[in-house]
Amino acid sequence: MIEVLAILFLAPIFSSIPIAIAWGIEPRPRWAEKLSYLSVFGLFLSLLASLYLLIYLGELSPEAKPIKYTIEWIPALNINFVFIFDYLSRIMGVLTALIAFLIGVYGLEYMRNDYRLGWYWFFFNLFTASMLLTVYSDNMLLLFIGWEGLGLASWGLIGHWFRDDDELSYVGNVGRKIWKLNMFWTPSFAGWRAISTIRIGDMPMFFAIAAFFVLTGTLNISEIDWHGLEGKVGTVGIVILITAFSMGLFAKSAQLPFSDWLMTAMTGPTTVSALLHSATMVAAGTYIFMRLSWYIEPWKFHGHGYEYVYILVLFLGLASALYGALVAAGCLERKVLLAASTMSSLGLMFASTATCYWVGKIGILVGFWYLVTHAFAKATLFLVAGHLIHETHDRFCVGDFEVAKHLKLAFIATVAATLSLSGIPPLTAYWVKSGMDGVMHALEHELGYLPLVLLILTSMVYSGFLAKFLSLNFIKGKHVHIHPHGGKLMEISYTAMFLMLFLLLAIYITSYEKPFKEFHHEGFLPSSIAVGILVLAAYIFALYKPQIKSKVGEFLGDRMYLPFLNDLIVAKFGWVLSTLSDYGNRFIDFMCHKAVPKLFEIYSNGTRMIQSGNINTYIKIAVAFVFIVVLIAAGW
């Protein structure tokens, strides 16, 4: 087992070290470019290891008992390297490794002429390894190591083109300014935005982990007595603890109000965006929430504290989903549109998972399978977007039918991915979305129709902007000149990626295991079919009329001015702190250099002024002192 784990986590990292060293020795070594293949080979080994864990570790079912593997770390404190292999982690691990590998292959061509391959591959593989560590960890401290590895690697990759010299890597319209805010972002700034936003979530998360340890004596998610914890800290305590922990998840998964870093993260290479948006990083937040819910099992004891938290997550998820969908609908940049759509999907994952408090494990499974479906579809779309940017030298949605003719595979992949992801019957996401409709509908008794309405609304907008993406890039967009580059490897990898969607569809339709039989059941309900038709209608409408120019669209495209929160309001907190500390410094300087020396000088001169040389004065002082002394004695 330990050999498999070593290959799983270390192969990507070690295989990327040679190229990193080569780039460290020389700025742009021609001889070392082939080392990229070694890095991808490391990802391949990692994929094999994850497949081994999927296939050879017994029955794969939501009800199976998790298998754990422990390596001692600090046994005295009951903190160990604990790896867990359950339904979630075994599938998620393969998903991560597979997508990372496919994107790695794509990257071999896409990044061929990059000036910083050592940096790129090292962080790309570190990214994958960190995600795998996060996926398989049961111990929260170990998980947190992977978690922070993700943060570090995302900073490295988003700001990969740190010279900010290529406008093609920017986000936003260069030169555009609203009030005091520049509405465009450079790679170096975007990298900083990502890591600083994530850290805001990570700090409360870290304290929550410490609190879990102090309160329960263990850090293993599967072993903590979550029910007993509520008895220990009470309703308010649970709300504070779980919310603090979830802050890390919300920030990483770009939920409101932490979402804006994700939009500007598009300054990184497209491969990074694809990986970041499908199976790593942002998925980590939702995945950990699923893992947590899986072992809290809140549906079993209905704790009040947990109820508040799950309501919060449900509505935060739905709100983020709708926000993301609307922003994507108003957005004209290829990758930013997809980024906003990811945020929307993540919101749906959070929301579906949160329903587990009322509907049980099926809520988590719906969220999880939506994650899987979304990962392949979104990775496909990103890889296509990257190819389009390469061919058209434009990061905005442009292209007419000429493009579709030239890039047939890209066109087919986009059609397949958008249709599959929208939830149009009977394609892949339809079944999961039906499951989602079902769990939201089940909340009617507790929370009314609001969740369901929000979900349907989001689904329609979602489908609309996917069709818009297709239409504006391949059918009705501006005519554009194409620069053919070859692109065989890129095509192979996104073809493989969208074919995975059909594999998934086959599983959904043919399997009779949990949760797929629930999906079937929901999928054949008239209400689900009705929603499917609504979604289809939205898709067709947007395909026909992809762009409606209006103030509203501009407002949505400006992300409802949320960047102001990030770049002005929060930044002002820092400004206030630094101003305060500046005043503090000045005060200290004033005290040390002006006030205290001046006081000493005044006092000193005063003391020395007595020294007039006149003995009369001296005698008077002495006699006065004697009288004072006598008075003191008399008073005693």
């Binding site: 000493f600 000193s604 020395r608 008399a634 005693w636």
Partner: protein, 398 residues
């Protein structure tokens, strides 16, 4: 008997000085070395007196040449005796006897300095009267713990303050130090300081009663005032002899602070060791610095040793003296005073540095510089941690 023999030798020396000063010098030296066997601490006192006599050679053609050596030797004998005697009348006699020679010494120099003599003598007379009255009242009233005891204690304290120059009645110190010749001033600043403290201590100890503990609070306050006045006033002074004057005011404050701890039986020897060692630091430091002034500067090494010792950096003598005082204060519940003392040591750093820089202009071969060299060397004797000094203090016949 030895004491009597020494006094006879000194009398003869004074008489012979009319014939030839060298007889008086030789006999005075003989007398101070003889006196060094009287008690274990005496050799160090002898060193102070020896430095005084050597330094007097710089102004060997002064107005009372010949007699001046005898006077210093006489002061030494009186100082040594003050440690030994227990009788009040004798103690007060010694107090006067140690003070009077300085009345004459203060006026001598390259030219006669009557003005400053008058200023000094006026203060000293006032101090002596208050001291004696205070002592008498203290003795009279301590058994009944009457108000007279309190008055006596406080008047005695005032007399002590005037005598050694503790703020707020330190006014004579800067004037005398700045105007008189550095040679006699160095003697006033060193050898003359021992007897008042020793006599006052003995009187306080014999008359100690439950009221004393409360009165020691006044002592603590006065000492704190003196530290602040001395150190802060010195900060803006640039003339070396003035800086030294305020440094004396501060140092007397440190010494008086140690008196706050004398009621504690366990700490008494630490307090006393602190008092005496600080007196020695002050003596060697003042003689060394005044010698540097008189000699027109000295080697920067010596001036820095003297300055750093005053600041209180280990392993120099000034560190250990403050250490003993602070130790005694902390463990007798005068932590605040210990903190004030430490603060004041910090405040004093700039002006001692300034002094060391002004006076460290280079070595010259003359008697004054030799005196400075010996003084600086004396600061180094505590390189051996001075538990031995505490032992010496313990062995003295108190």
């Amino acid at each position: 008997m030895l004491e009597l023999a020494i006094l006879i030798i000194l009398t003869i020396a004074a008489a012979l000085s009319y014939w030839d000063r060298r007889f008086s010098l030789a006999l005075s030296l003989l007398a101070i070395f003889a006196a060094s066997v009287i008690l274990p601490l005496a050799p160090l006192l002898t060193l102070v007196a020896f430095l005084g006599i050597i330094f007097l050679l710089v102004i060997k053609n002064n107005q009372i040449a010949g007699v001046d050596y005898v006077m210093v030797a006489f002061m030494l004998v009186v100082t040594v005796l003050a440690f030994v005697v227990k009788d009040l009348a004798l103690l007060l006699t010694l107090f006067v006897a140690a003070s009077v020679p300085t009345y004459l010494l203060v006026m001598i120099g390259d030219k006669l300095n009557i003005d400053i003599g008058i200023k000094y003598v006026t203060f000293m007379v006032l101090a002596t009267i208050l001291f004696i009255i205070g002592a008498a009242l203290t003795y009279y009233g301590y058994e009944e713990r009457s108000p007279l005891y309190i008055a006596g204690f406080l008047i005695l304290l005032t007399g002590l303050c005037l005598e050694v120059g503790i703020a707020p009645v330190h006014e004579w110190v800067p004037d005398v130090f700045a105007s008189a010749d550095p040679v006699p001033v160095s003697i006033i600043a060193s050898l003359a300081k021992f007897v008042p403290f020793v006599v006052a201590y003995k009187i306080f100890l014999v008359t100690a009663n439950p009221l004393t503990a409360q009165l020691l609070f006044v002592v603590a306050i006065v000492s704190a005032i003196s530290m602040f006045v001395g150190n802060i006033a010195a900060l803006t002074s640039y003339e070396p002899s003035r800086i030294l004057a305020y440094s004396t005011v501060a140092n007397m404050g440190y010494i008086l602070a140690a008196f706050s701890a004398i009621m504690s039986k366990e700490l008494i020897y630490f307090a006393l060791a602190g008092v005496l060692l600080q007196l020695f630091v002050n003596s060697f430091g003042k003689i060394g610095f005044f010698a540097s002034i008189k000699g027109g500067g000295t080697s920067s090494l010596y001036s820095w040793i003297l300055g750093v010792s005053f600041i209180g950096i280990p392993p120099l003598m000034g560190f250990w003296s403050k250490f003993f005082i602070i130790y005694a204060l902390v463990f007798s519940n005068y932590v605040w005073l210990a903190i004030i003392l430490i603060l004041n040591s910090a405040i004093s750093v700039p002006y001692y540095v300034r002094l060391s820089r002004i006076l460290g202009t280079g070595w010259r071969r003359n008697i004054a510089n030799t005196t400075a060299l010996i003084s600086a060397a004396a600061m180094l004797i505590t390189v051996i941690p001075p538990t031995w000094f505490v032992d010496l203090v313990t062995m003295a016949r108190w």
